[in-house]
Amino acid sequence: MLKRLRSLFRALARRRDFEDGMSEELRFHIEQYTDDLVRCGMSREKAARQIRMELGSPINLKADCREAFGLHLFDEFRRQLNYAARLLRKTPAFTATALLTLAVCLGANLTIFGVIDSVLLRPLPFPQPERLMTIFNTYPKAGVERDGSSITNYYERRGRIPAFASLSIYAYGTEIVGELGSTERLQTMRVSPDFFSTLGLGPAIGRTFTDEETTSDTDHVAILSDPFWRQRYNADPNVLGKQIRVNSVPRTVIGVLPASFRFLSSDARVFLPLASRPEDRAPSRRHSGGNVIQMIARLQPDATLAQAQGELDAQNAALEVDDPQAKMIADAGFRSLVVPLRADYVAAVRPTLLLLEAGVLVLLLIGAVNLVNLLLIRAGGRVKELAVRQALGAGWRYLVSEVVVETTLLTFVGGLFGLAVGAGGIQLLRGLGADRLPLGSHIVFDARLALLGMVASIVMGMLFAVPVVWFQLRRHLGNALHSVSRGGTSGHGAQILRHGFIVSQIALALILLAGAGLLGLSLERVMAVSPGFQSDHVLTGQILLPWADYLEAGRLKFVESLMDKLDQLPGVLSAGVVNNVPFSGNIGKSAATVAGHVRRPGESARGHYSYGVAGDYLRSMGFSLRAGRFLTADDSRRSARVCVVDEDFARYYWPHASAIGQRLWDGPEAGKDAETFTIVGVVGGVKQAGLTENEAQGAIYYPYAFRIGDSVYVALRTRLAPESLALALQKVVRQIDANVPVSDIRSMDTRIADSLVARRSPALLAGLFSGIALLLTSIGTYGVLSYAVAQRRREIGVRMALGAQPGQIRMQFLALSLRLLTVGTVLGLIGAWQAGRAMRSLLFQVPPLDVAVLAAAASMTAAVCLAACLLPSQRAAQISPMEALTEE
């Protein structure tokens, strides 16, 4: 078999040689034979006649020889291809419409599928990625759904859960890397020694971390990522043993990761040991995760997730027995959950992506229906030609393959354009924030996607041929000749099919439009939500203070001098500092204990958003004061034990009394009296994580001195455009310490707008899809109706000759389109209702069945369809009876 294929390909590749050889061989044969016959005494003419008789026609002979090689099929294919190309060129309007439809529909599908493929389908780049799990602590009844894992968890679980082959922890971070004067701020990861073996992919050069390198005194080692190694060290193979300064502490390079190493979306350049002190590993720190440290594990080859979960639950239960906080932890609904790493990582975006995929598939369906309709109309125009050819002896096999070749050529070329649209679409999606999706930076338009597009377009071409072939073969040959020559109407079946297609197009377009409307309305409702503070005219930026240079006192001093300098900056109304601004993406909750609050049965310590603030942070952000006073620069200077809470917090603990003067401890347990903080003010509730956040978890603002972290956000209120202060802010920070950069500088308005990207982009795309769908539907409706009019020209002519008024004719066609529109709209509304139910989880304060949205979508679809019907109806009314009856 293989041998024959090879010989066929050889013949195809050297087609000219094959043909020349064949001719020469036959010529040789004839000459030799002639010579022999002449030698036997025959005249030349007689010999030539004799040979022709014996050999047969050279054309047939050559055809038989080609067939012996299987070449005839290709010759036929090429002939049909030429024929199809010629036909398509003859109808440029149809061809352009079809190609454009295909390009847009296939391109849009490739784009969305490219995202789905990278984010949801493609396995993580590690061996047996399906065995990788993530484990996190959850305290649902305390309002903390996700708290990561603690260092204690790691040391208690490592090697003690039989279902896990390996278990490790990691934490993302940013550090200042490089020699003084040429530092840069880089993404980093701190990982436990077994992190790389859990993933199953270790350094390409050198070694991983050892257990000895996990204490805070012995962790002066680092592993580099491949890009960093190439950039900074020019891919120096002797990099091992060199020193690299991280947060101004020198560390020794002990390894370089392979180029293929990519953990989720992390862009970490330098990997450091996740070092800890013995006290960090103590049982008392078991529940101190704070969502900073995350745990991953690899299942044993024969273990299941349920088994691992069971073993983990059992261990947790055993450990909690002698935990003094056991009751409170249990009340909080504590559990440690095992979840597949990848599914967990993309869980948040999965519904949106699936919704978009569904939308884009509907678009493809509309486009396909449109094309089939146009193809059917086109086939209708060629009925007579085909009937004549059939009568002249063209076999049905040949006619079928002719149709298949034509439709496939069309979809193939359309598919090529579709690839271009898809590649452009992926660029567009990047602009819409697709690269910020989990695993979104992996999205590329690659050969795999292109191949898929080409295969899909060929399959589509073959499918399109089915209805066309059915349409052509089904008719009786004589009948066709007859009906066309008399200008009769087309078959009933074909008409129903065409009308069915129009109805389904209208319905699908309506569903898409309604879905886009729901998303748009939902976005509008989200944007109408107040963040709880005055977000305009505020500039914010993050400053990272490396531990080595700034101990607690150093940080306080830094913040104080920063405040002094910022206050003097022209254009600044007030300035403040906080651990994390709202909408910065890094928020964590921690527990507080209110003095005098008796926990109700089953109530645990609650997690609240807790911040340290300095300067005039609350005023600068435009928080609204409900009672008491703001924390001010004075409080941070005096380090008074005071705090401000928000109204959600106050309402929870003192629903009927004032919170002012009440006291609380920063932590899950009541402490000494001297350690309480007195509430001096109540501020309005603020959306911390996003506008759609609806849990009122409460927030506490302490003076910065009591909550010093390694990074702070600056907030400046100004009368000017906030971005115009960015350079001044950087300059001020550089004056204090030239090695401390300011990053993530954005106005609060921008932060809020950016936080909406996950809603805005899908709404935008859905709007785009439904716009295209409407356009396609109008093209389809117009095409079908024009065809109906053209086909019934003669009939209309007769009727007008008998006295029918143009208005009556027009109404007849408009009534037809109204009937189709009505059926399509009813079906579409049912579909839209179902679609709304399916996307309920993505909607914000919008019911799945929103009458206004449905009405708007339906009337828009109706308007577009009727507009598409007007022109053909008008044309019907203007038919001149004389012309219609005399032509042909």
């Binding site: 041998k3 024959r4 010989s7 066929l8 050889g21 020469e24 061989e25 036959l26 040789f28 044969h29 000459e31 030799q32 034979y33 014996e54 050999l55 047969g56 047939n60 002979l61 038989d64 020889c65 067939e67 012996a68 090689f69 299987g70």
Partner: protein
Amino acid sequence: MDKTAELLPGTLDMLILKAVSLKPLHGYGVLQRIRQISGNALEIPQGSLYPALYRLEHHGLINAEWGQSENNRRAKYYTLTAAGRRRLRDETAGWNRLAAAIASAMNTTSEEV
């Protein structure tokens, strides 16, 4: 007509293989050789010769190469491949069995029944 026999269906390929197995031949040579080795008893229909040659070449049973003819013309010469040799052996054996069986059947006399 003189004493030429009609070719049985399916035997052309076998005869071509046999002819080519003796010595590399061009198409016209194959025709002559079959006539010669059959003692002028078999007449090859010329219209089927070349399609048969192309089919055998396509199936890898014979090889085609351009060479010089006895009167110094360029001609395509066919030789037997290893696969062709195997096929020839099988077909010869099969044919002999068939011929012997038919001969035996046809020579039966009434006494032997």
